[in-house]
């Protein structure tokens, strides 16, 4: 079910499914896509709470567009308090992974563990080396090639979508640019503070991720104390989308030692 909730003056769209340990899922720059299977699969084990980032869906960007990633981090920390979450699992993919890391370096109090799925957000190498592919400089075909193990799975027939969904896609693209355009998809200061993440952390990475490579994931693993990096075969930048069963199995095995 989808609802809206007021958090600190911001109206958030929230999708909630399932029962059990709370799991806060922060979606990728592509959008939440709640009709895709991973939320349902997660909801077999957890109470999944998935906000739509402000600016995506039908929502307005935070503070009329004045807010950035740090504002989203505080907003979701406020949301966790508002919902009274205790011992929750924090999961973030791509842009959502960046936000999740920004939250955890501020406060991990309401979370028991962290799962980052091919997160954006940190700068590892030199000033003239890209850590994060410039996907705004790619054609759609080039992007699918870089972001998917099987590019055909990422194709969308836009002409078949209703205007409301197209509008949500356009709004999401604008919001993604708003939050991540410059510095490109990272916070130059975030890496410095990743040592503050004091919860068990799993990094999930598609073996064929051409947006941020598994080598970049290795950089994340080095910075977060005790973190584990799992490589998901036959997946690109969105392993939760391309291999949803494998994704959920690895996640729940890490959280609960369960074989889903």
């Amino acid at each position: 079910m989808t609802q809206t909730i007021q958090v600190g003056g911001t109206v958030l769209e929230l999708t909630e499914r399932g029962q059990g340990r709370p799991l806060l899922f922060l979606h990728a720059g592509e959008g939440l896509a709640p009709e895709r299977p991973w939320l349902d699969l997660l909801s077999r084990h957890y109470r999944v709470i998935a906000p739509t980032h402000p600016g995506y869906g039908t929502s307005a960007p935070i503070d009329g567009g004045a807010g950035g990633i740090d504002d989203l981090a505080y907003l979701y920390l406020d949301l966790a308090r508002e919902l009274g979450l205790e011992g929750a699992v924090l999961v973030g993919a791509d842009l959502g992974g960046w936000i999740a890391a920004e939250m955890m370096v501020r406060s991990s109090a309401r979370f028991s563990s962290l799962v980052l799925v091919a997160p954006l957000g940190i700068k590892l190498r030199g000033r003239d080396e890209r850590d994060i592919a410039d996907f705004h400089a790619m054609t759609r075909a080039e992007y699918l090639e870089a972001a998917w193990a099987d590019p055909a799975k990422g194709e969308v027939d836009y002409a078949a979508l209703p205007d409301t969904e197209l509008a949500a896609i356009v709004r999401g693209r604008e919001a993604f640019a708003l939050y991540g355009w410059k510095p490109y998809m990272h916070n130059p200061r975030l890496k410095r503070w990743l040592h503050r993440i004091d919860r068990p952390t799993l990094l999930l990475w598609g073996a064929q991720d051409g947006i941020v490579t598994p080598e970049y994931g290795e950089g994340w693993r080095r910075e977060i104390p005790g973190a584990r990096l799992d490589i998901v075969p036959a997946a690109g930048h969105f392993p939760h989308w391309e291999q949803p069963d494998d994704f959920v199995q690895r996640l729940s095995a890490f959280i609960d030692g369960r074989n889903a």
């Binding site: 567009g65 705004h136 708003l178 355009w181």
Partner: protein, 400 residues
């Protein structure tokens, strides 16, 4: 009507390679640029601007970045040279892409300096900039217009404040001591221009009393000028023709054939300007939600901004000179032809007091450009000066 001669100072020797690669901008490596040829071209183009002053035309300069279509990367640099080489022409900067500039106070300083140098001949365009300018500037397209208006307000305040220093702590720009020296020659600021394609831009320009310009498409000009007039009327003043500008390609000749030939060469500006690698044509947030929804639905087809008389897109890359005359993009033929085409368009959009004349484009060589400029100035300009003189001046009430 005033006529402002304009050339993008193209580097056409690289166009063939750019067309082959599908982009004349952003991603075409500058290995395709020869410094010696560039040296000759820049000097040639500046000679052509100087000629305009001698024959009675006003002058406009613009800027683009990372492109073979336009070697002018700084309006103030080009106008600084032109200001010293001319005596009479008014000098239109159209303009500075202020949402892509990190330092608006520097823009105010440069514009004030140019105004002082030229003895008050500067007209100051503050423009949004084309979508493919986002990448070279690496400015955030999702905040472009908010940054535009903050820079606009700061520039005008910096130029018109005489009791500084003042402080500015905005969303994008921060200064503690703004107090520009020199301040402009014209008081309180040089005339301000904006550009656009939509009625919304017309309305916003009217709110400030600025001149508004549009280009290459009569079907965009009409609704935009009308929106301006209406908004001005609502605000209690009447917008004269001097508030409106229209840009078109001009080719004039002693015979119709010669004029068409010149226009056809100059029109390569129109045909090449939209050849840009696809990812840079529509950065997120640059265009409206509705325009982007329509683009997704149509599979992202791009038509550029030239529209026919019914508002349907014309493929700029392949348009014939006849199509471009029909769409109001080009004015071409004998002096009579050119005058009649301009007058026809002028009348159909409710009048405009400024024609921005693309009188050179790419492969139109120096000899042809000289004839194009002089013949236009001798045979067409005097008649255009008489066009809608009664509407020439905006009432004093318009001055904010």
């Amino acid at each position: 009507m005033r006529v402002w001669y304009f050339s993008e100072m193209a580097y056409h020797p690289a166009w063939e390679e750019g067309l082959k690669r599908g982009s004349l901008r952003v991603v075409l490596p500058n290995a395709n640029y020869d410094p010696e040829i560039g040296h000759q071209l820049l000097n040639r183009y500046l000679d052509e601007f100087r000629l305009c002053d001698e024959v009675g035309l006003d002058i406009m300069v613009n800027e683009h970045h990372s492109t073979s279509t336009c070697l002018t990367i700084s309006v103030p640099m080009a106008l600084a040279v032109i200001a010293r080489e001319t005596k009479r022409a008014r000098l239109l900067s159209l303009g500075t892409p202020i949402a892509n500039r990190p330092d608006p106070v520097r823009v105010a300083e440069e514009m004030a300096w140019l105004d002082v140098l030229s003895g008050g001949r500067l007209e100051m365009g503050l423009v949004k900039g084309a979508p493919y300018e986002i990448a070279p500037a690496n400015s955030n397209p999702a905040t472009l217009m908010r940054r535009y208006w903050e820079a606009h307000d700061l520039i005008l305040k910096a130029m018109s404040t005489t009791s500084g220093p003042f402080s500015w702590e905005g969303e994008f720009f921060h200064y503690r001591n703004v107090n520009i020296w020199p301040r402009p020659y014209q008081q309180p600021t040089p005339p301000v221009w904006m550009t656009g394609l939509s009625p919304e831009t017309g309305r916003m320009a009217a709110e400030h009393g600025h001149v508004v310009g549009t280009l290459l498409s009569l079907s965009a000009a009409g609704p935009m000028f009308e929106a301006y007039r209406k908004r001005a009327q609502e605000l209690g003043w009447t917008a004269g023709a001097d508030r409106f500008a229209y840009a078109g390609v001009v080719g004039v000749g002693a015979t119709r054939e010669e004029g068409l030939r010149r226009a056809n060469l100059a029109a390569d500006y129109v045909r090449t300007s939209v050849v840009v690698a696809e990812p840079f044509t529509n950065p997120p947030g640059y265009n409206s939600l509705a325009a982007n929804v329509a683009a997704l639905k149509s599979g992202g087809k791009r038509g550029g901004f030239v529209r026919d008389r019914n508002g349907n897109p014309v493929d700029q890359r392949t348009a014939s000179i006849e199509q471009l005359i029909e769409s109001g993009t080009c004015f071409a033929g004998t002096p009579d032809d050119v005058y009649n085409q301009i007058k026809g368009l002028h009348d159909s959009v409710g009048g405009f007091g400024n024609l921005l004349m693309f009188g050179q484009g790419g492969f139109l060589d120096h000899a042809d450009t000289v004839v194009n400029i002089t013949l236009f100035a001798e045979e067409v300009l005097p008649r255009l000066r008489e066009l809608s003189p009664s509407r020439a001046a905006t009432q004093a009430a318009a001055a904010q």
